[in-house]
Symmetry: C2
């Protein structure tokens, strides 16, 4: 299935699965949609915290059609599942958000670590959550974010157990993807960043860390959703976790200096 | 002082200090000198273990003059201090080795981590042993080397404490210097590589590892000396630790993909 086909089926309500594992090689993006009055601060927040909030494209106000990630794709229905947020709480998980459209909405598309996982696997670095067909393990940390307006909080990280002999290489490979979280924010010693239960993920699924493996932590795209909850905005739309916007760009387009 | 001046003074017996801190920006090299009958296996050993034994130049047999690292420099007297090894034991530390020259000697010049330390410091990653004017901390490990002929053993590593927020960057920066040890061979958890006393270095000086720092381990140029001792060759020459060959090449010449 091509990204265009997946988006068309999503718009018709015929594709309703998580997008992990579909359209290998293509960039998938997180989405956050806000009224214009909050958009400026949110964009500033992303620029100040590029590792957890790597901005790939800003769409609107006045349109819901992307021009960079998939020219002409409508962000109101091409994602398989959305979340509607009111006062910091998720109130609905609809298959499209056409009825919520207004001229003053701004759509933020943010990078996702799916993009660098492909590069890790190509380099022979196996990823347990992929092998076990699980969601990646994610944790709240005590790593502070740079605040902007109502947006503030701590970073959420994803964790992948990596064999000790491949940790440096994993840092090097993912550093080549600065627009999709980049190099790890922390290696080993979970307690140093405020994680006291690495065996139990805060979000996603838990995986074993085996002998001779280190837990390696990357900034995670769940961070902005977490920040949205804290900001308790009257209204926001996001993608539903795991149900991403599938773009026409290749992951390789986001690799630099290779 | 230029590298040529330092080498000239060394040859005249007027420069007899360790070379650390001299000729900033220029590549310094470890040296191993063997009779031809062992040279082929030693070269194979270096090629099989490029991280601890990064070969920069092979000189001879039939000459002691370098052609790549410092064209025309004589390896018999341009290093400030040498070691003479007999049957695996250091028997002398002379200022030159002219009297030991024979037509069948082969000179190996090997990369040294001084080269990437400059790049780390330039990136704002401070190195405690440099700040405290100490020798870097080095440790024996249980990391096996690929054997070749009489040469075998385990890797020696150098350790630098790095703040947790800079570990990934340190991996990325040093990965750009594949000919001078490259990226770390291990990060954190000293016991995973057979080091059970990280607070006490096996070679060099010990330094503190402070809160929020991880010990980061790189393959070390002391490895070949250690292997030589084990091989108990009837005769070998090396530089004395800390008294390196100072070349005319710049460290930046060994950076790739920057």
């Amino acid at each position: 299935m091509t990204p265009a086909e997946l988006r068309k089926l999503s718009a018709e309500g015929k594709f309703t699965d998580p997008t992990t594992g579909y359209c290998d090689g293509y960039v998938q993006a997180n989405m956050v949609v806000l009224h214009k009055e909050y958009a400026e601060h949110f964009e500033e927040f992303c620029r100040k915290n590029p590792k957890p909030c790597p901005l790939l494209e800003v769409v609107g106000p006045g349109t819901s059609l992307t021009s960079k990630l998939a020219p002409g794709a409508d962000l109101l229905d091409t994602i398989p599942r959305y979340r509607i947020w009111k006062d910091g709480e998720c109130v609905e998980e609809p298959l499209d958000v056409r009825k919520y459209y207004s001229e003053d909405l701004v759509f933020f598309l943010l990078g996702c670590s799916f993009s660098f996982e492909e590069a890790l696997i190509s380099a022979g670095i196996s990823l347990r959550h992929v092998d076990e067909k699980k969601n990646v393990s994610m944790y709240r940390t005590n790593l502070p974010l740079e605040p902007a307006g109502p947006f503030h909080g701590e970073m959420v990280v994803s964790m992948r157990p990596i064999h000790r002999s491949q940790v440096a290489e994993a840092c090097v490979i993912t550093s080549r993807f600065p627009e999709v979280h980049g190099a790890p924010v922390h290696v080993g010693y979970p307690e140093m960043v405020g994680i006291d239960h690495v065996e139990k993920a805060d979000y996603g699924d838990s995986v074993d860390i085996k002998e001779n493996e280190l837990p390696v932590f990357w900034a995670c795209g769940v961070t902005p959703q977490n920040v949205l909850v804290k900001a308790k905005l009257p209204f926001a739309i996001t993608h539903a976790p795991g149900y991403m916007f599938v773009s026409d760009l290749k992951n390789a387009d986001y690799a630099t200096g290779v």
